[in-house]
Amino acid sequence: MSRPANSDVLLAARNLSVRFGGVLAVNDVSFDVRRGEVFTLIGPNGAGKTTVFNLISRIYTPTTGTIAWSGPDRHVDLTQQAPHQVAGLGIARTFQNIELFEHASVLHNLLIGRHIRRETGLWADMLFTSRVRAAEVRARTKAEEIIEFLDLQHYRDTLVAGLPYGVRKVVELARALCTEPRLLLLDEPSSGLNVEETEDMAFWIQDIQQDLGISVLMVEHDMSLVSKVSDRVMAMNQGEVVALGTPQEVQAHPGVIEAYLGSIDEVASLRRPAGSAPARSAT
């Protein structure tokens, strides 16, 4: 595996640690997300995946470590940015349990996604000048492109509060895309989706990567989705990196198997001696 040139790295996390009181949620985690790749975090519950996400989107501040972000024109340390500045840098995210604007329509939600691209100020907005009008039409055009991309036409004017779960997931993805990000953070994109919806999600993630050229960093449990779309996978357990590599490498890694299933010794101790049938099947 050839080491990529430094300019290929979009986001570089170095020695990240977070401590919540006595709990070390993330311990000395380092990884790179390269331009144009789908990078997946896997691991059992409580491994610290979502915490890493919240570090990148600045909801948490790391105890130690840096996150270097290579924007088109400048390189910044994300840990020095305010939470609302992250979107402006080109990082959009979705949430594990869906955080949409419930009492607004789908279109309205997508337009809120255009907030960082707003062109007008307060006074112009108050008077709704022709400049605001033109900017609104441009924002709408962009939102419509995303609606088209994700097949949401049918739900455009529906209130989010009345949408089924699977559609909400897509709306959240659409809202993140509306910010025109360079890196998309997806927190368990397939959780709560049925098989068909998960397949759709896989296609969309591939389209986002290939057609829109957006890098994706995601947390995911569904291994079929992970191996279908990811270029590289990082496995975590108890706040530490266990393995990093292609999906196949990581899935075969003994440390990863141990993290999910326990060690061979533990499994062996559960095995019953041959011949002694379980009690309940006797009668």
């Binding site: 919240n54 909801i59 594990q96 607004a104 255009r114 108050m126 779960y165």
Partner: protein, 358 residues
Amino acid sequence: MRFLFKTSYAQDLRLAKHGGQVFWYGLLCLLLVAAPVFTPEYWLAQLTFVLIYAIVGLGLMLLAGYTGLFSLGHAAFLGVGAYTQAVLTGMGWPFFLSLGCAAGISAAVGIVVGLPAMRVKGIYLGMATLAFGFIVEEGFARWESVTGGNSGMPVGTPEVLGYALDTATSFYLLCLAITAACTLVILNLLRSPTGRAFVAIRDSEISAQSMGIHLAYYKTLSFALSAAFAGIGGALYAHKLQFISPDQFSILQSIDLLLMIVIGGLGSVHGAFLGALFLISMPQLISLGKDWLPDSVGQSPGLQGLVYGVVLIAFVLFEPMGLYGRWLKVRTWLQMFPFYRQGMFKRQKTFQKSDRLR
């Protein structure tokens, strides 16, 4: 049932979505402009109060209904506006300049109050604004050199561009024009990025933030705008009453204002107007009803408070969307007759929200 055929994005930006709206709102405007011709003076005065309260209600609606921040001290902003107007016009400043100052000073006070709003939420914000309301009321009472203290101060008739608006009709028309302008500003804000940022903060702060909305800025802005509207309302209120004293801006006034928008319907511009209509007509209805009640009930002093309380509880229990929500249901029933279903407006089950991020 009306089906709209949309052919351009600009169509969705229009204030009136279809010809029916143009007709009905046009008719309403005509009626309001023509009201002085066929309305007795007493009712015209009541209508003026409806307009004034609607302006304050619009501001509070922006804050509570659209940004999700509740203020229990809104009467203080009303008072700041009223006293600013009284003092400045007393010094001979022109009407619109002092009105602008009333709005500006109220907004500045709103920013000061909005600063803690970044740190406290829900009931704690309510308590903070409540305390602020008491402080301001006390300030009006104590700062006697400017406000005249508890004995109050008189307010002159407004003079606009050389014309003294000393008749009920002329002042009513002034209030109508200002109300129309304020409504237009609110509607414009709500269809532009600023208004959408407010709605985003109301519905989910965490994702508003991850969409790049600066929470502190927009929360403070919402407070400032809301206070500015209350200040404008207060200035007109002062002119209408021609006499102001600190007890007009007490906690009771704040509660009336909050009651107004909750009963009108949180999260709708119509709600501010319907609520104002309710707030002004209720005392009239109560006094009409007094004659029908036995003296022991009808003449007791707490009747108004009791009725307000019962009405508020009834609305919270049976119609959380307020008068405007009720109207929407009636309208849908009429439009869809006979296909309206019982559960059409039922709040769908909201899915569990993330608590990992708190």
